[in-house]
Amino acid sequence: MTGELGQLSLCFALALALVMALSGLLGTRPSAIVARKIASSSAMGLLVFVALAFGCLTYAFVVSDFSILDVANNSHTLKPLVYKISGVWANHEGSMLLWVLVLSLYAALVCALKRGGERLTSGALGIQGLLAAAFLLFILFTSNPFLRLDPAPFEGAGLNPLLQDPGLAMHPPMLYAGYVGLSASFAYAASALLVGEEGWARAARPFMLIAWMALTCGIALGSWWAYYELGWGGFWFWDPVENASLMPWLIATALLHSALATEKSGAFRTWSLLLAIAGFSLSLIGTFLVRSGVLSSVHAFASDPTRGFFIMVLIVLAIGGALALFAWRAPTLQGGAAFEPASRETAILLNNVFLVASCACVFVGTLYPLLLDAINGTKISVGPPYYALTFAPIFFALLLLVPFGPKLSWKRGDLKAAWRSLFPALGLAAVAALTVLALVSPRGLAATGAFAMAGWLIGGSLVDIRNRKGARASAFAAAIAHGGLAITLMGVAGTTAWRSETLAVVAKGQTITVGPYLLRFDGVTREQGPNYIADRGHIAVMDDGKPAAVLLPEHRFYPAEGQDMNDTAIRTNGWRDLYLALGDDRGGGRFTLRAYVSPLAPLIWLGGLVMALGGFLSLWGRLRVKEPEKKAAEPGVAIAAE
């Protein structure tokens, strides 16, 4: 019954999405009041039916209804409840349903807030309806999560143990909230092109902020998960699937800045539209890369080529359509407002140039090998050393400019005054560099440079905060987000430069040293988990000769899935992680033990959170000011309207 109800809901949702697309687009005409009403109600209906379908699938996972193929393939009765639920989106079909659910949530939000006026909202709903319809067709025809299995098996195939983890249970919804959130900016941009409306940047701002925050948190969460779960001690691998989430983030960051200029001073009108289109296009491309199986071609795994083809068509239509619309309508729009060379607009322009270039770097690094392979079968690898030589210098140059932005005024700034006010930041950078050189070994140019940069950024943020004393909390958003960038930078630099690592085969009673710690291996006990059996290592940690802790890394075996997995043990004091992973049983009570000391590692993710906090403050400030359009126009807006 559940399956059929879900299937039926999906069909209704598809019908509503089509109605919403049509009526939304018709509603962009000034007099089409009825069409706009229909678009609004179908947006709400779409959310109801997609949520119902999603609820049905979740219910099937919770009660382990193995007569549904998707559940049988990805669940198991012995799994803890939370992983039964997260199992819903830990597979292709369910994750596409989650995608559409998030899309409908954003559409309902767009509809409820009606930012930017009736016509702009209606057009945005129309575009979102088109997207929802396309994805629902994709689900119904190639990835139906409600397909039945007859006879139903007694037990499911289980879920990859790597995914049975709280961090990863949360990671996909967070990332999707970001990916799909960019669809709202995309829809507003396309609608603005259709309607010729200027206020889209302000209207879409909250959605940009939500999407950007979610992407930031999603990427940080994924990286943190990889760190503690995979047992390598690494946090970023530059693999194509990670890159697929980084590209939209870079463009979303560029868009946040450029759209602010569009809103405040009227600069970069068409450019912001293009960025909004590009951001969501990269989300779609990321989905294509992840879902189509192109990336795993090295393994020649059996994947369904119709899915890849369908998404490819979808991408071509969405991106091609948006770009065609852009090419057709953009020339009719008013050009960007003028600004002087020393102005915040120039700073944002440079920000955009560097962000787009760094995104291009990730884009080329990800797609070039695929392209080369497709053209003549040549296989090359694009690994971390490539990004160290291309992405890193471009991004570093960007960071150098960051503190200037907030110090320059819109339209006409004073570069000399900005430079003078940043002297304290320069001082902080020098102090940071000298501290690193004086105190820490091994000395490295890269680490020194990174810490000087972090000092410069934090100094810039502090100067900015001091200048805005007494302002509303949202005025500090940029300073806090830029500070978060510095925190992440310190974490990355510290871990990369000063990580110590020891790999050894240890017997009971044996000791090894790693960094400042002495570790004594006290043997292994056999533990029974809810759906796994574990070898639990007991490792006594000595700091300065005093016993500091006992760490219990586990090597788990999941019988249902037939897989081994590591559960690392991490002891952190907030500045430095001691990281232990228990490896293979080498026989005779001897085990491999991998121990890392990662200085400043926690800062990597803390920085991500701080960046997201900056986004949140900005959003908070926005939503508290109701109907900004009706307020007396600010000077910048007055110029924009000229």
Partner: protein
């Protein structure tokens, strides 16, 4: 975020074999007692890709292939071959795919140059845009300059 790889693999219903297991690299029998040689070996291992895994270097991979290549690298280091010679040997045997850092050659120059081309083009476009802004300088009314925007 290696995570996501595992995620993809799962999504297409194929559970990865040994590759997703944590590596056993440089376990005792494989390591040099000379720290300089050991550092060199580890650095080199990080530059080489495990061909049977997804995106892992042979330093971190737990696959038998990676173990073989590690042994080979260490053998050749012990024989006094330079890093370049070892890389050349491996490229001759396995192709460019084994190098984490793609070589600069006729089919990769675009890969290496593209980011900087975008940077230069973008910079040029930005300059052009900025200059257009300046030309209209006389025609705009400047707003009251304030930091609170």
């Amino acid at each position: 975020m290696k995570s996501l790889i595992a995620f993809v693999l799962l999504l297409i219903f194929v559970l990865p074999a040994r590759c997703d297991l944590p590596a056993q690299s440089a376990s005792a029998p494989e390591s040099f007692s000379n720290p300089a040689l050991e550092t060199r070996a580890r650095d080199l291992q990080r530059q080489l890709r495990c061909l049977v895994c997804q995106g892992e270097s042979i330093d971190e991979s737990g696959s038998p292939f990676a173990a073989d290549v590690r042994r080979l690298v260490r053998q050749q280091i012990a024989q006094g071959m330079s890093d370049q010679q070892i890389e050349d040997f491996l490229v001759a045997r396995y192709g460019d795919f084994i190098l984490m850092k793609p070589p600069l050659q006729s089919n990769t120059w675009l890969l290496w140059l593209a980011p900087f081309l975008v940077l230069v083009t973008g910079g040029g476009g930005g300059l052009d845009y900025g200059q257009k802004g300046c030309r209209t300088r006389g025609q705009i009314n400047y707003p009251v300059v304030t930091f609170r925007t």
